[in-house]
Amino acid sequence: MPEIEAPLPEESVAPRDDAALVAALRAGDEVAFTELVRRYGGLMLRVARLYVPTRAVAEEVVQETWLGVLRGIGRFEGRSSLKTWLFRILTNTAQTRAAREGRSLPFSALAQGELEADEVSVDPDRFIPQGERWAGYWASSPRRFDDLPESRLMSAETFAAAKQAIDELPDVQRAVITMRDLAGFDSEDVCDALGLSAGNQRVLLHRARSKVRRALERHLEAGAA
């Protein structure tokens, strides 16, 4: 089974590993703290934003999370990665805060609505219609993205198209793809954080990725014309 490509490495000069960072934090090392905030702060804000209604509240959630991290750092045993531990505290904090803000409809309840909607991954017009020979096969082939120069695929414009498509997703699909593909968590962590079954998480991830793929195809084809 081929593996999913890993995301690009974190941008950080000589990143320290978890154990070194934890030891430095416990010792009160400001540089280590700043490095961690820089590495994860933006991503934490984006994840917090999935739970709470405004950016201002999400910033408070991030602050509260860091306080929780500092209070708990003495008990961190390294059984999960530092990042996973940090984001667990974040999602718990965000959930509590969302409930207090009156936004307590859990993702698992929202998910039902999204799952009930009928959706196809690819526009049906792309396939040969029923009743014809080769019905259900591609009418015209998709173009491979890796035929394009890497500089085009990984360009600011392509990223903007992907971000816009993610922003437009229904809430739970946006939450799942943000946690899985953007933040890089495994399915078990995401199921825990959102209260979803593995199967439902996978369906929602598939729908989210399919919509982002469609947006990228549209964007990349437009540029090629």
């Binding site: 890993a6 703290f33 991503l43 306080l67 082939s141 173009r143 491979r144 890796d146 593909d181 990228l216």
Partner: protein, 82 residues
């Protein structure tokens, strides 16, 4: 022998395929289809590239004011420890 997958059916299974959660018999049908179907291979490649592009998205840093508040909180925590 199980019936062949159509392209339209295959595209609904791509996430299960890349997640490694397809049952054995479906996995076999999926991979057999890919052997002869270039368009579906291209589609699966597009999905993999989509995952890679999403994984490469970078967040803007926190606002400086928020980062400063955090540093203050850190110093407070450090001073307040026994």
């Amino acid at each position: 022998m199980a019936s062949e997958l159509s392209c339209r059916e295959l595209v609904e299974l791509v996430t299960e395929y890349v997640e490694g959660t397809l049952p054995d018999d479906e996995l076999e049908r999926f991979e057999q289809h890919l052997v002869y179907c270039g368009p579906c291979a291209a589609h699966v490649e597009q999905m993999r590239e989509t995952i890679r592009v999403t994984g490469a998205l970078r967040e803007a840093d926190l606002d400086a004011a928020v980062a400063d508040d955090l540093l203050e909180a850190f110093r407070g925590w450090r001073e307040g420890r026994p």
